[in-house]
């Protein structure tokens, strides 16, 4: 299915949970926060929330800053 992640469109396998999607992208789960359609998906929900067609995700982490 088609989703948008960090501003870019991707085609990912159907039926993934949020955690499944993170692992599909090989993202280190420890240091990220996930927003789905402008709503935060708390870490404890990552196994319960399924990715839907046309979902828009922001996957963020910390970078150097002042």
């Amino acid at each position: 299915m088609r989703v948008k992640v960090n501003g870019k469109e991707y085609v990912i396998p159907d039926g993934l949970t949020v955690r499944g999607m993170l692992s599909y992208f090989k993202i280190n789960e420890n240091f990220v926060a996930v927003e789905r359609n402008k709503e935060i998906v708390p870490k404890k929900e990552w196994d319960n929330v399924y990715v839907c067609e046309n979902d828009v995700f922001e996957i963020v982490t910390f970078v150097g800053g002042g």
Partner: protein
């Protein structure tokens, strides 16, 4: 200085120097500078993860330190963006502190105080420990304190400018106006700027470019550590009043003839 602790919200710090983590050539250099600075609080920014490239984040490095993470909302131009960024930062699970920035102008990076206050109100209600980056404006500082900010962080000069404390009189008035810690954030260029801020009575100093942009960041980090401590000691010691004319340090009697 053992008992001279800095309390912000429910956090207690020995060091009064907060340092940023941006603009370093390598993460190793950043870590060395943080260590030399003695800082216990480091700021970070929130950005999209590069999901196609390497996955090592700054937190892989910062986890080697014992520093408290202070995420910022740098780059946000509206209250909504800043609130959204703060919530995501908290979701990362490392800190409920937020260095709240709502920028009003790209050239000066001066804050949009109206939006800052609006965002601060929401975030305080949501339980954040809010440290707002603000103008050196005592009226604004009071408003931010009144709505529950844990500290106020007036700029000394524009971010990254190295111009030092441009309006020490306003900083002094802010210090008389609010009870929460006042931390000078932005503008510090060299050690004397940091000392000066502390001598005025500020509770701390936050800097990034002043250290990261120096030719030798590690050396400058140590200089800033000493400067903050020296300035704090001088403030606590109570400086002599300034006078126009001399007053001899040596006895005036029993001179040889």
């Amino acid at each position: 200085m053992k008992d001279d602790l800095l309390v912000i919200g429910d956090k207690v710090f020995k060091s009064r120097l907060f340092v940023g983590t941006g603009k370093y050539a390598t993460p190793e250099l950043m870590l060395a500078a943080i260590e030399a600075s003695g800082a216990e609080v480091v700021t970070v920014a929130l950005r999209r993860m590069n999901i196609e490239g390497q996955q090592r984040t700054i937190l892989d490095y910062l986890s080697q330190t014992r520093c408290t993470i202070l995420p910022n909302t740098a780059g946000c131009y509206t209250a909504e963006e800043a609130i959204r960024t703060a919530r995501l930062a908290r979701e990362l699970g490392l800190s409920n502190m937020i260095k709240l920035e709502v920028i009003g102008d790209a050239k000066t990076l001066f804050p949009d105080n109206e939006a800052l206050l609006e965002a601060a109100k929401v975030l305080v209600k949501e339980g954040f420990i809010v440290l707002p980056y603000t103008n050196d404006d005592p009226v604004m500082a009071k408003k931010l304190e009144d709505i529950g900010c844990a500290a106020v962080m007036p700029l000394g000069a524009p971010i990254g400018s190295g111009l030092g404390i441009r309006n020490p009189y306003n900083i002094k008035i802010i210090l008389e106006t609010v009870k929460v810690p006042v931390i000078v954030d932005a503008g510090v260029g060299t050690a004397s700027d940091a000392s000066f801020a502390m001598e005025l009575g500020c509770s701390g100093v936050l800097m990034n470019t002043g250290i990261a942009g120096a030719k030798d960041p590690v050396k400058m980090a140590r200089a800033m550590k000493l400067a903050v401590e020296a300035g704090r000691l001088a403030y606590l010691a109570g400086r002599i009043p300034k006078k126009l004319y001399a007053s001899a340090s040596s006895p005036l009697d029993n001179l040889i003839e």
